[in-house]
Each structure stands twice: as C-alpha cells, then as structure tokens.
Subunit: 101 residues, 4 copies
C-alpha cells in the first residue's frame, strides 16, 4: 500500500510498457493510441469500471483516438501499488484493443 | 439497402463467424462470451457508438460475461446490409477483446 | 446479506418505484424507458460501474430506448440487500436521466 | 456550417450556460462538475455516442467528478455550428444528470 523508494519505483515502472515516471516521482504517465475514437472510448469504459471498483481513478484526457493518462495516489502523495495495478490493467486492455483482429 | 434472397442471406451469414439465421430469415443472432463483465461492457460500449452512428441498433441482453445479440431491420422486416455491417463490426471488436494480451 | 421473508420482500419492493417481484420471490424486475438509445446507454453505463464496484451484476436486455432488468442473488437463490441496493441506484439514475432538462 | 463572426459567436455562446470563448475565438470551453465519477462517466458516454454520430469529437479531460471540455472545428480553424450543437447536447445531458432525483 505504501509508496515506493525511488529504486523500487524505477524497477516497477520499467516493467510497464509505455509508462514514464514524472514530477519528482509522484506520478506515472502514458499515452495510449488507438485506431479511432470508438476504440479509445471502449478502452476508457473498461478502465472506468476497473477504476470505480478499485475506488482509484485516473486523471486522463482524450482527443479522438489518443488517451493521455496520469496516475498518482493523492492520499499518499506518491505512486503506490494501486497506480501500478491500474496501469497494468490499462496496458492489458489497450494491448487487446490494438491487436489485429 | 434491400433485403436479401434466402440464398444470398445464407451465403453472407456463412462468412460471419458465430452468427445464425433465425425466425424465417428475418433476423440474425449471435452469443458473444468474454473473460468478464468489464470486457463484455467495453464491447457493448464500442457497439453502442457504432450503432448510434449508423442509427441502427441491436436487440441485446447481457448476463455477466455473455452478450446475446439479435439484429434485424425493422423497417424492412428482414435482414439487410445494415445488419451485416453491424454484425461484422461486432465480430471485429469481440475478436480483439478476446485476444490474448 | 441474507434473503428476506416474503413479507419483508413485499414491503421493501413496495417502496421501490416500478419494481415487481417474480418467480417465487427469487428475483425482482423492472422496465426502464428513456427518451432515446443514447440516454438508455448512459443509464446502462452508470449501472455497469456501480455493478462492477459491488461485484453484483444485473441480467438485462436493451432494445433502443428500453432497458429490462432482472435482479437476483445467484449465491443466495433469492433476492437480497444487494439487489435492493442496485435497484435503488438504478431508480436514482433513471429518475435523473428522465428529468426535464 | 461556416465559422461565425465575432459578434455572432458572442451572441450564440452567451446563450450557452457555462461556456466561454477562448484563444482568439477558435474554441469554446466549459467545465462540468458532477456528484461523483460514475455520473461524470455516464455523461461522457452519452456525449461519446453523440460525438461519434456527429463525427465531431470533443477534446476533454476528466479528474474524478469533473470534466473539462474544449470544442473546436479543426477543419474550419474556428468555432462552427457543430461545436454549438455538441455544446447544447452536453448542457442538456449534464443538466439532467445533476438534477435532484
């Protein structure tokens, strides 16, 4: 539940395809690109269900087929396991939605 | 735009993985199965966007990870190109969402 | 958590606008009607988020602007508090979405 | 279809509750606030369906219960009727979702 040391965070995020550490280690970010708006919004819907179930919500923006995400744990003022769990979930859904049919 | 002959319909639906012709040829149906409710609802959201853009909507039911769909063109009282287009779209999204990440 | 007595169930459902008890008291059902498909699907999305967060999911079908819902607690083989909680949530969202703007 | 004169734009946006003109008149913006994430995402879903049907999509970000929207017509490099139509749609949905149940 707790925050990570700088080394632990680098190691954990290093295994998360596409994610970067920003802002003095208090958040992680990634841009997702999809084929079109419909696919981007299907991704957002899957993430919304997961986020609500976790009670841990992303900061995100969407322009057509792109979704920019920032994850942080406000209560900890840091990146925590919850952010990594949500990031991993996002990568899984995005990977499937971007696959060739 | 028009309805198909019985032979044309059989041929067209034969190329649509998982779909069946029912009810004296006036509708086509398919059951989709996903890993969980979240994936099923992401599928439904992508389909909802497409359906609204086509102004051609499915009849569908959902129980957890399963989605049962019936497509018909009420104005034609038959299966038309619009049903086949929406069925193809559904198959594409479902195929991607069911792919191994 | 437990199931209700027949009298308790009647009393509880009697306070839930639009819901009926069916099938030997093992489920409750309601039909929701909205202005159009978009409003119906916005309703379904709000309910999907709540359902996933509760890990308690509806059986439901949608045809254009109508959503038919059946709620039961499969593990209990009966109607439980979880069904009433989800039914109340649905009524709240539907009431707001049907309000005059 | 075309862009508005500065006076026409001011007049049109003046009738749109909550919207502001920004950036040399090339975009309009509004922040929507809802009761919670679920309501915010139901709003976004209704808007997503409308946007896809119009083939005119918002630039938007979401943090929990807030949704920030920027509308512009990229092809025109200006605010057009399509932006006003989508803004009016958003206001209608938001008004209903924020109503007391």
């Amino acid at each position: 539940m707790g925050a990570f040391s700088a080394g632990e965070l680098r190691s954990a995020v290093g295994e998360l395809d596409g994610w970067s550490i920003g802002e003095n280690d208090i958040a992680i970010t990634r841009q997702f690109r999809f084929a079109d708006f419909t696919t981007a919004f299907a991704f957002m819907t899957a993430v919304a269900l997961k986020a609500e179930a976790m009670n841990h919500h992303p900061e995100w923006s969407n322009v057509y087929s792109k979704v920019d995400v920032r994850l942080t744990s406000h209560d900890a003022g840091a990146v925590t396991d919850r952010d990594l769990t949500l990031a991993r979930f996002m990568n899984g859904v995005a990977s499937r939605l971007s696959a060739q049919a």
